[in-house]
Amino acid sequence: MTPFFQSLGMSYDWAWFVSTICGILLIALPLMLAVAMIIYVDRKIWAAMALRRGPNVVGPFGLLQSFADGLKVFLQETIVPSAANKGLFLIAPVVTFTVALMAWAVIPFNSNAILADINVGLLYVFAISSLGVYGTIMAGWASNSKYPFFSAMRASAQMISYEVSIGFILICVVLWAGTFNMNGIVLAQKGHLFGIINGFVFNPLLFPMWVLFLISGMAETQRAPFDLTEAESELVAGYQTEYSSMAFAAYWLGEYANVLLMCALNATLFWGGWLPPLDIPVLYLVPGFVWFLLKVFFFFFVFSWVKATVPRYRYDQLMRLGWKVFLPVSLLFVVIVSGYLMATGHFA
């Protein structure tokens, strides 16, 4: 967009500045709308699987339900517990919400629609997603209340555990793609299998990695069946127990933005991102972002599906799965994938 603003008579610095601001708004505002709608979709899918109707009162088919909820929390009073550490208590939801939006900067929506096309894109995503834990820990500690504190302990242990195996899974993808650049990873998947099917997931060596990534993603975003941080039968509502009004809404939105990010990463890293499923010229007539959003929506459906059908894990089972199953398997696959790539001369 920089050349466009330069053509309006701005200097390069200003054109770059304005176009970056516009790019951020172009991603963040539709993302917030998408989060509002995806909460509605989540509730509808969940209701349908439980043979209920779900939200159907506000607006046609209940489409405006999320906006009504948003308005409601916006008008509520923010209550800060008297024993809370005020500064941290109020910063924590801001951290969660900001971090949830930051990683979207490097997600490619189309071949040229990417805010920051940096050559360490995947590392950036990994770095930002490892920050998500701070919003939770700070909330748990600053609330000065036992249930949020337990929840924060659980959340931090859980997120650190699964980040380790996610790191190894990403290394397998990077080895095959040969780059950390997100657009480069998408392009490396073009015609991956038999020169016609796009996506690393159709590779027999990377398919198990995708399964691990999907499950680790659920653990990382604290979605069911790994939602031990907000296990309402044990911890009231988890780390956000003491929050009310917009601070609570910030957690809610941040959580769903993170879930959407995980879906987008699944689509980008394993399912060919904005590429159509088959490498056929006709399919390229459909704009890339349509394919991308379709894939993201499909993975969100999978997330909802799992939430509606799978019972919650016990905490020791969760830790065992992370450290004793996923970590060795993903480590083994790093060895296998790199060995295979060396043997077939992929790096030559």
Partner: protein, 205 residues
Amino acid sequence: MIHVIAFYLFAVMTVGSGAITILARNPVHSVLWLILAFFNAAGLMVLTGAEFIAMLLVIVYVGAVAVLFLFVVMMLDIDFAELRAGFVRYLPFGALVALVLLAEIVLGIGAYRAGSLDLGTPDGTAAAGTGLSNIEAVGALLYSRYLFLFEAAGVILLVAMVGAIVLTLRQRSGTRVQNIRKQNMRRPDEATVNVKPESGKGVQL
């Protein structure tokens, strides 16, 4: 222009949050300020064009090390009065450490001004680039020239990890350990019984 603003922003924030890290009364606040310092250091790395190091700084220090710090510090019950009690006793030792650090900084800056260091040039221009991206350059150097040192570092870390496990692992007798395989093998019909008790009578299990 924007580089200068960014540099001063990151530099001031790094030094400032570093200072508050040691001045803050509450250890949890200290760790959080430390995290902010790491963050801004990563920003400075990006400005010098070392984006790989910047990302590693965030992933390793902010994402893993600082979380563990926070984890430990949050669970400690720290008595501030007791902490401050030893202040005067340790003051001479602390002053000595501060003096040594100051001397090191002065010597370091002096040596750097004299141009005897190989890291860059005293007028601030960086060493000539190689045309490779960050990751390629680091990888090419690490896996060729410094391969032995790199692997040795890995082995040392492995030994440290094994050592930590050996130190903390203790076999206790009489503890009940879950057998996950046995739990997974269990089927509903062997775990539950269906009884139909007569009214007024209990069930013998």
